[in-house]
């Protein structure tokens, strides 16, 4: 057991946990005032549900059976065999197995929570819970195994240090499929727009996400070492760059830099650095942050031309940001940090970049397909949307019987 590594991963686990309530405020502030409680409530529901899935079967299906191409096994059901001693083969940094389990569990929780921003204001709570249960088991857990459990993407040589593909691409792409099935909100039916009801909440949630991300990325080293320090620093640099670039693009485009935009830019930068943070240096981080600001801003502009209603731009920020980060890892990996694979611009040729692109395309197809089929099937047997009247009154009263502001 390594005391220093254990201490850092304990703290990081708590930091990643705080990202889920933070997402509640980040998203809740962007919604109308009649739907803010529903998002905060859904975050609590997800924390409860995914924790229980994770300790019963989730962890063993994602991380058991190391080297299985597609899915783990049931060796560690109910965490049988996962204890206070380091857990092979995840014991390289000598942290307790049960701590490794919980650190990874926090990632599952935040990944699931990202989805609710896309389907907000119109999905029935019961249908949402069933869908998120299915999604955790059939989308998140398999992809986590492919990338981190020694599955086929890991064997391919693709890199994803802290979950750009596993967390952000899966959530972002799944939202795209979900909103196609769900349709638009009533408030947008005549070309109307929904105004954010509390931008200070968005900044508060975004700031907490930013803090949490130091644990998300820095903790993914699973050690208190130089790789963790590098991840921490490039996380800060990419987020700062993306916030500035988003603000500048916004300033040039519309004449004024919006506060909502700048904090969204920071989140886009955090998303994009996530897969790369164990492999790139500060130069790479600045370029990744610049790309995140420009591509995510552009992606959200392009979205307005399509008729789908991704309420809080989960695809625009997490889908596009995660995709850029995965590809940027193939461009900027130095080969001197957590992996010896070099990116295209560091003399590694197309090997790593190619693996990254294959991994991204496979996860796109898988997450989109499974989500689409799951919701399509659910729509056949149950109501997945609230009625128009319920939507006009708002999810807080209709689904929870409470008002956020009286």
């Amino acid at each position: 057991m390594d005391a220093g590594n254990t201490a850092w991963v304990l703290i990081s686990t708590a930091l990643v946990f705080i990202m889920t309530p933070a997402v509640g405020f980040f998203y809740g502030g962007m919604l109308g005032k009649k739907n803010v409680l529903s998002i905060l409530g859904q975050c609590i529901i997800i924390i409860g549900m995914v924790t229980l899935i994770w300790v019963t079967v989730g962890f063993t299906l994602a991380f058991g059976g190391f080297g299985n191409a597609l899915i783990g096994n049931f060796d560690w059901v109910m965490l049988n065999g996962v204890g206070i001693e380091p857990l092979a083969p995840y014991d390289l940094t000598s942290i307790p197995g049960i701590l490794f389990m919980m650190f990874q569990g926090m990632f599952a929780i935040i990944a699931v929570a990202l989805i609710i921003g896309g389907v907000a204001e119109r999905m029935r709570l019961k249908a949402l819970i069933i869908f998120l249960f299915i999604w955790t088991l059939l989308v998140y857990i398999p992809v986590a195994h492919w990338v981190w459990g020694g599955g086929w993407i890991a064997q391919l040589g693709a890199l994803d240090f802290a979950g750009g593909t596993v967390v952000h691409i899966t959530a972002g792409v799944s939202v795209l499929a979900a909103v196609i099935i769900l349709g638009k909100r009533v408030s947008l039916s005549n070309g109307g727009t929904e105004q954010p009801h509390n931008i200070p909440f968005v900044v508060l949630g975004g700031a907490l996400l930013w803090i949490g991300w130091f644990g998300f990325n820095g903790g993914s080293a699973l050690a208190a070492d130089g790789i963790a320090a590098n991840a921490f620093v490039v996380t800060m640099v990419a987020a700062a760059t993306a916030a500035v670039v988003w603000g500048l693009v916004n300033w040039l485009h519309l004449g004024r830099p919006g506060v909502l935009g700048m904090i969204s830019g920071a989140i886009a930068g955090l998303v994009a650095i996530t897969p790369a943070c164990g492999y790139v240096n500060v130069t790479g981080a600045i370029l990744i942050g610049m790309g995140a600001g420009v591509f995510c801003y552009g992606g959200i502009l392009i979205k307005r031309r399509f008729s789908y209603d991704d309420a809080l731009d989960v695809f625009g920020v997490h889908g596009i940001g995660g995709t850029w980060g995965a590809i940027a890892t193939g461009l900027f990996a130095t080969g001197t940090l957590a992996s010896t694979s070099k990116g295209l611009l560091y003399g590694g040729g197309f090997a790593l970049l190619g693996a990254q692109i294959i991994a991204v395309m496979a996860v796109y197809a898988f997450a989109f397909g499974v989500t689409f089929l799951a919701l399509y099937a659910m729509k056949k047997v149950m109501a997945i949307r609230v009625s128009k009247e319920e939507e006009r009154i708002g999810a807080d009263i209709i689904q929870h019987g409470e008002n956020a502001y009286s």
Binding site: V186, S189, E389, E390, I393
Partner: protein
């Protein structure tokens, strides 16, 4: 001079505003309001019984305009704000005695 007080569904504000602009009516005041009609709000059924939301969110638009434009304005609001379902709202038309412009003190016709 007349004043229109129109209660409409919140999501219809954008199209109503746009249509009023098209017939030359630019000035207006809007409020978020809560209210109910003859049905006393809406009743919903859930697993453990029924619950009622007795005040529903609406938007109120106030427009002061010349009598000559009144019929056009009423027609525009009706046609743009209508869904055909209960809860589309109401329009009240009220005579206005005087309109005074604060900046100049002038009494508008």
């Amino acid at each position: 001079m007349k004043k229109i007080e129109a209660i409409i569904r919140p999501e219809k504000l954008g199209v109503v505003k746009h249509a009023l602009e098209e017939i030359g009516l630019h000035a207006m005041t809007t409020y978020d309001v809560q209210g109910r009609g003859e049905q006393k709000g809406l009743e919903f059924t859930h697993r453990v019984g029924k619950f009622r939301v007795d005040m529903l969110p609406k938007i109120k638009i106030e427009i002061v305009l010349d009598d000559a434009k009144l019929e056009d304005a009423v027609n525009v609001i009706c046609s743009m704000a209508r869904t055909g379902e209960v809860g589309d709202g109401k329009i009240f038309i009220i005579p206005v005695e005087r309109v005074v412009k604060v900046r100049t003190g002038e009494i508008e016709p």
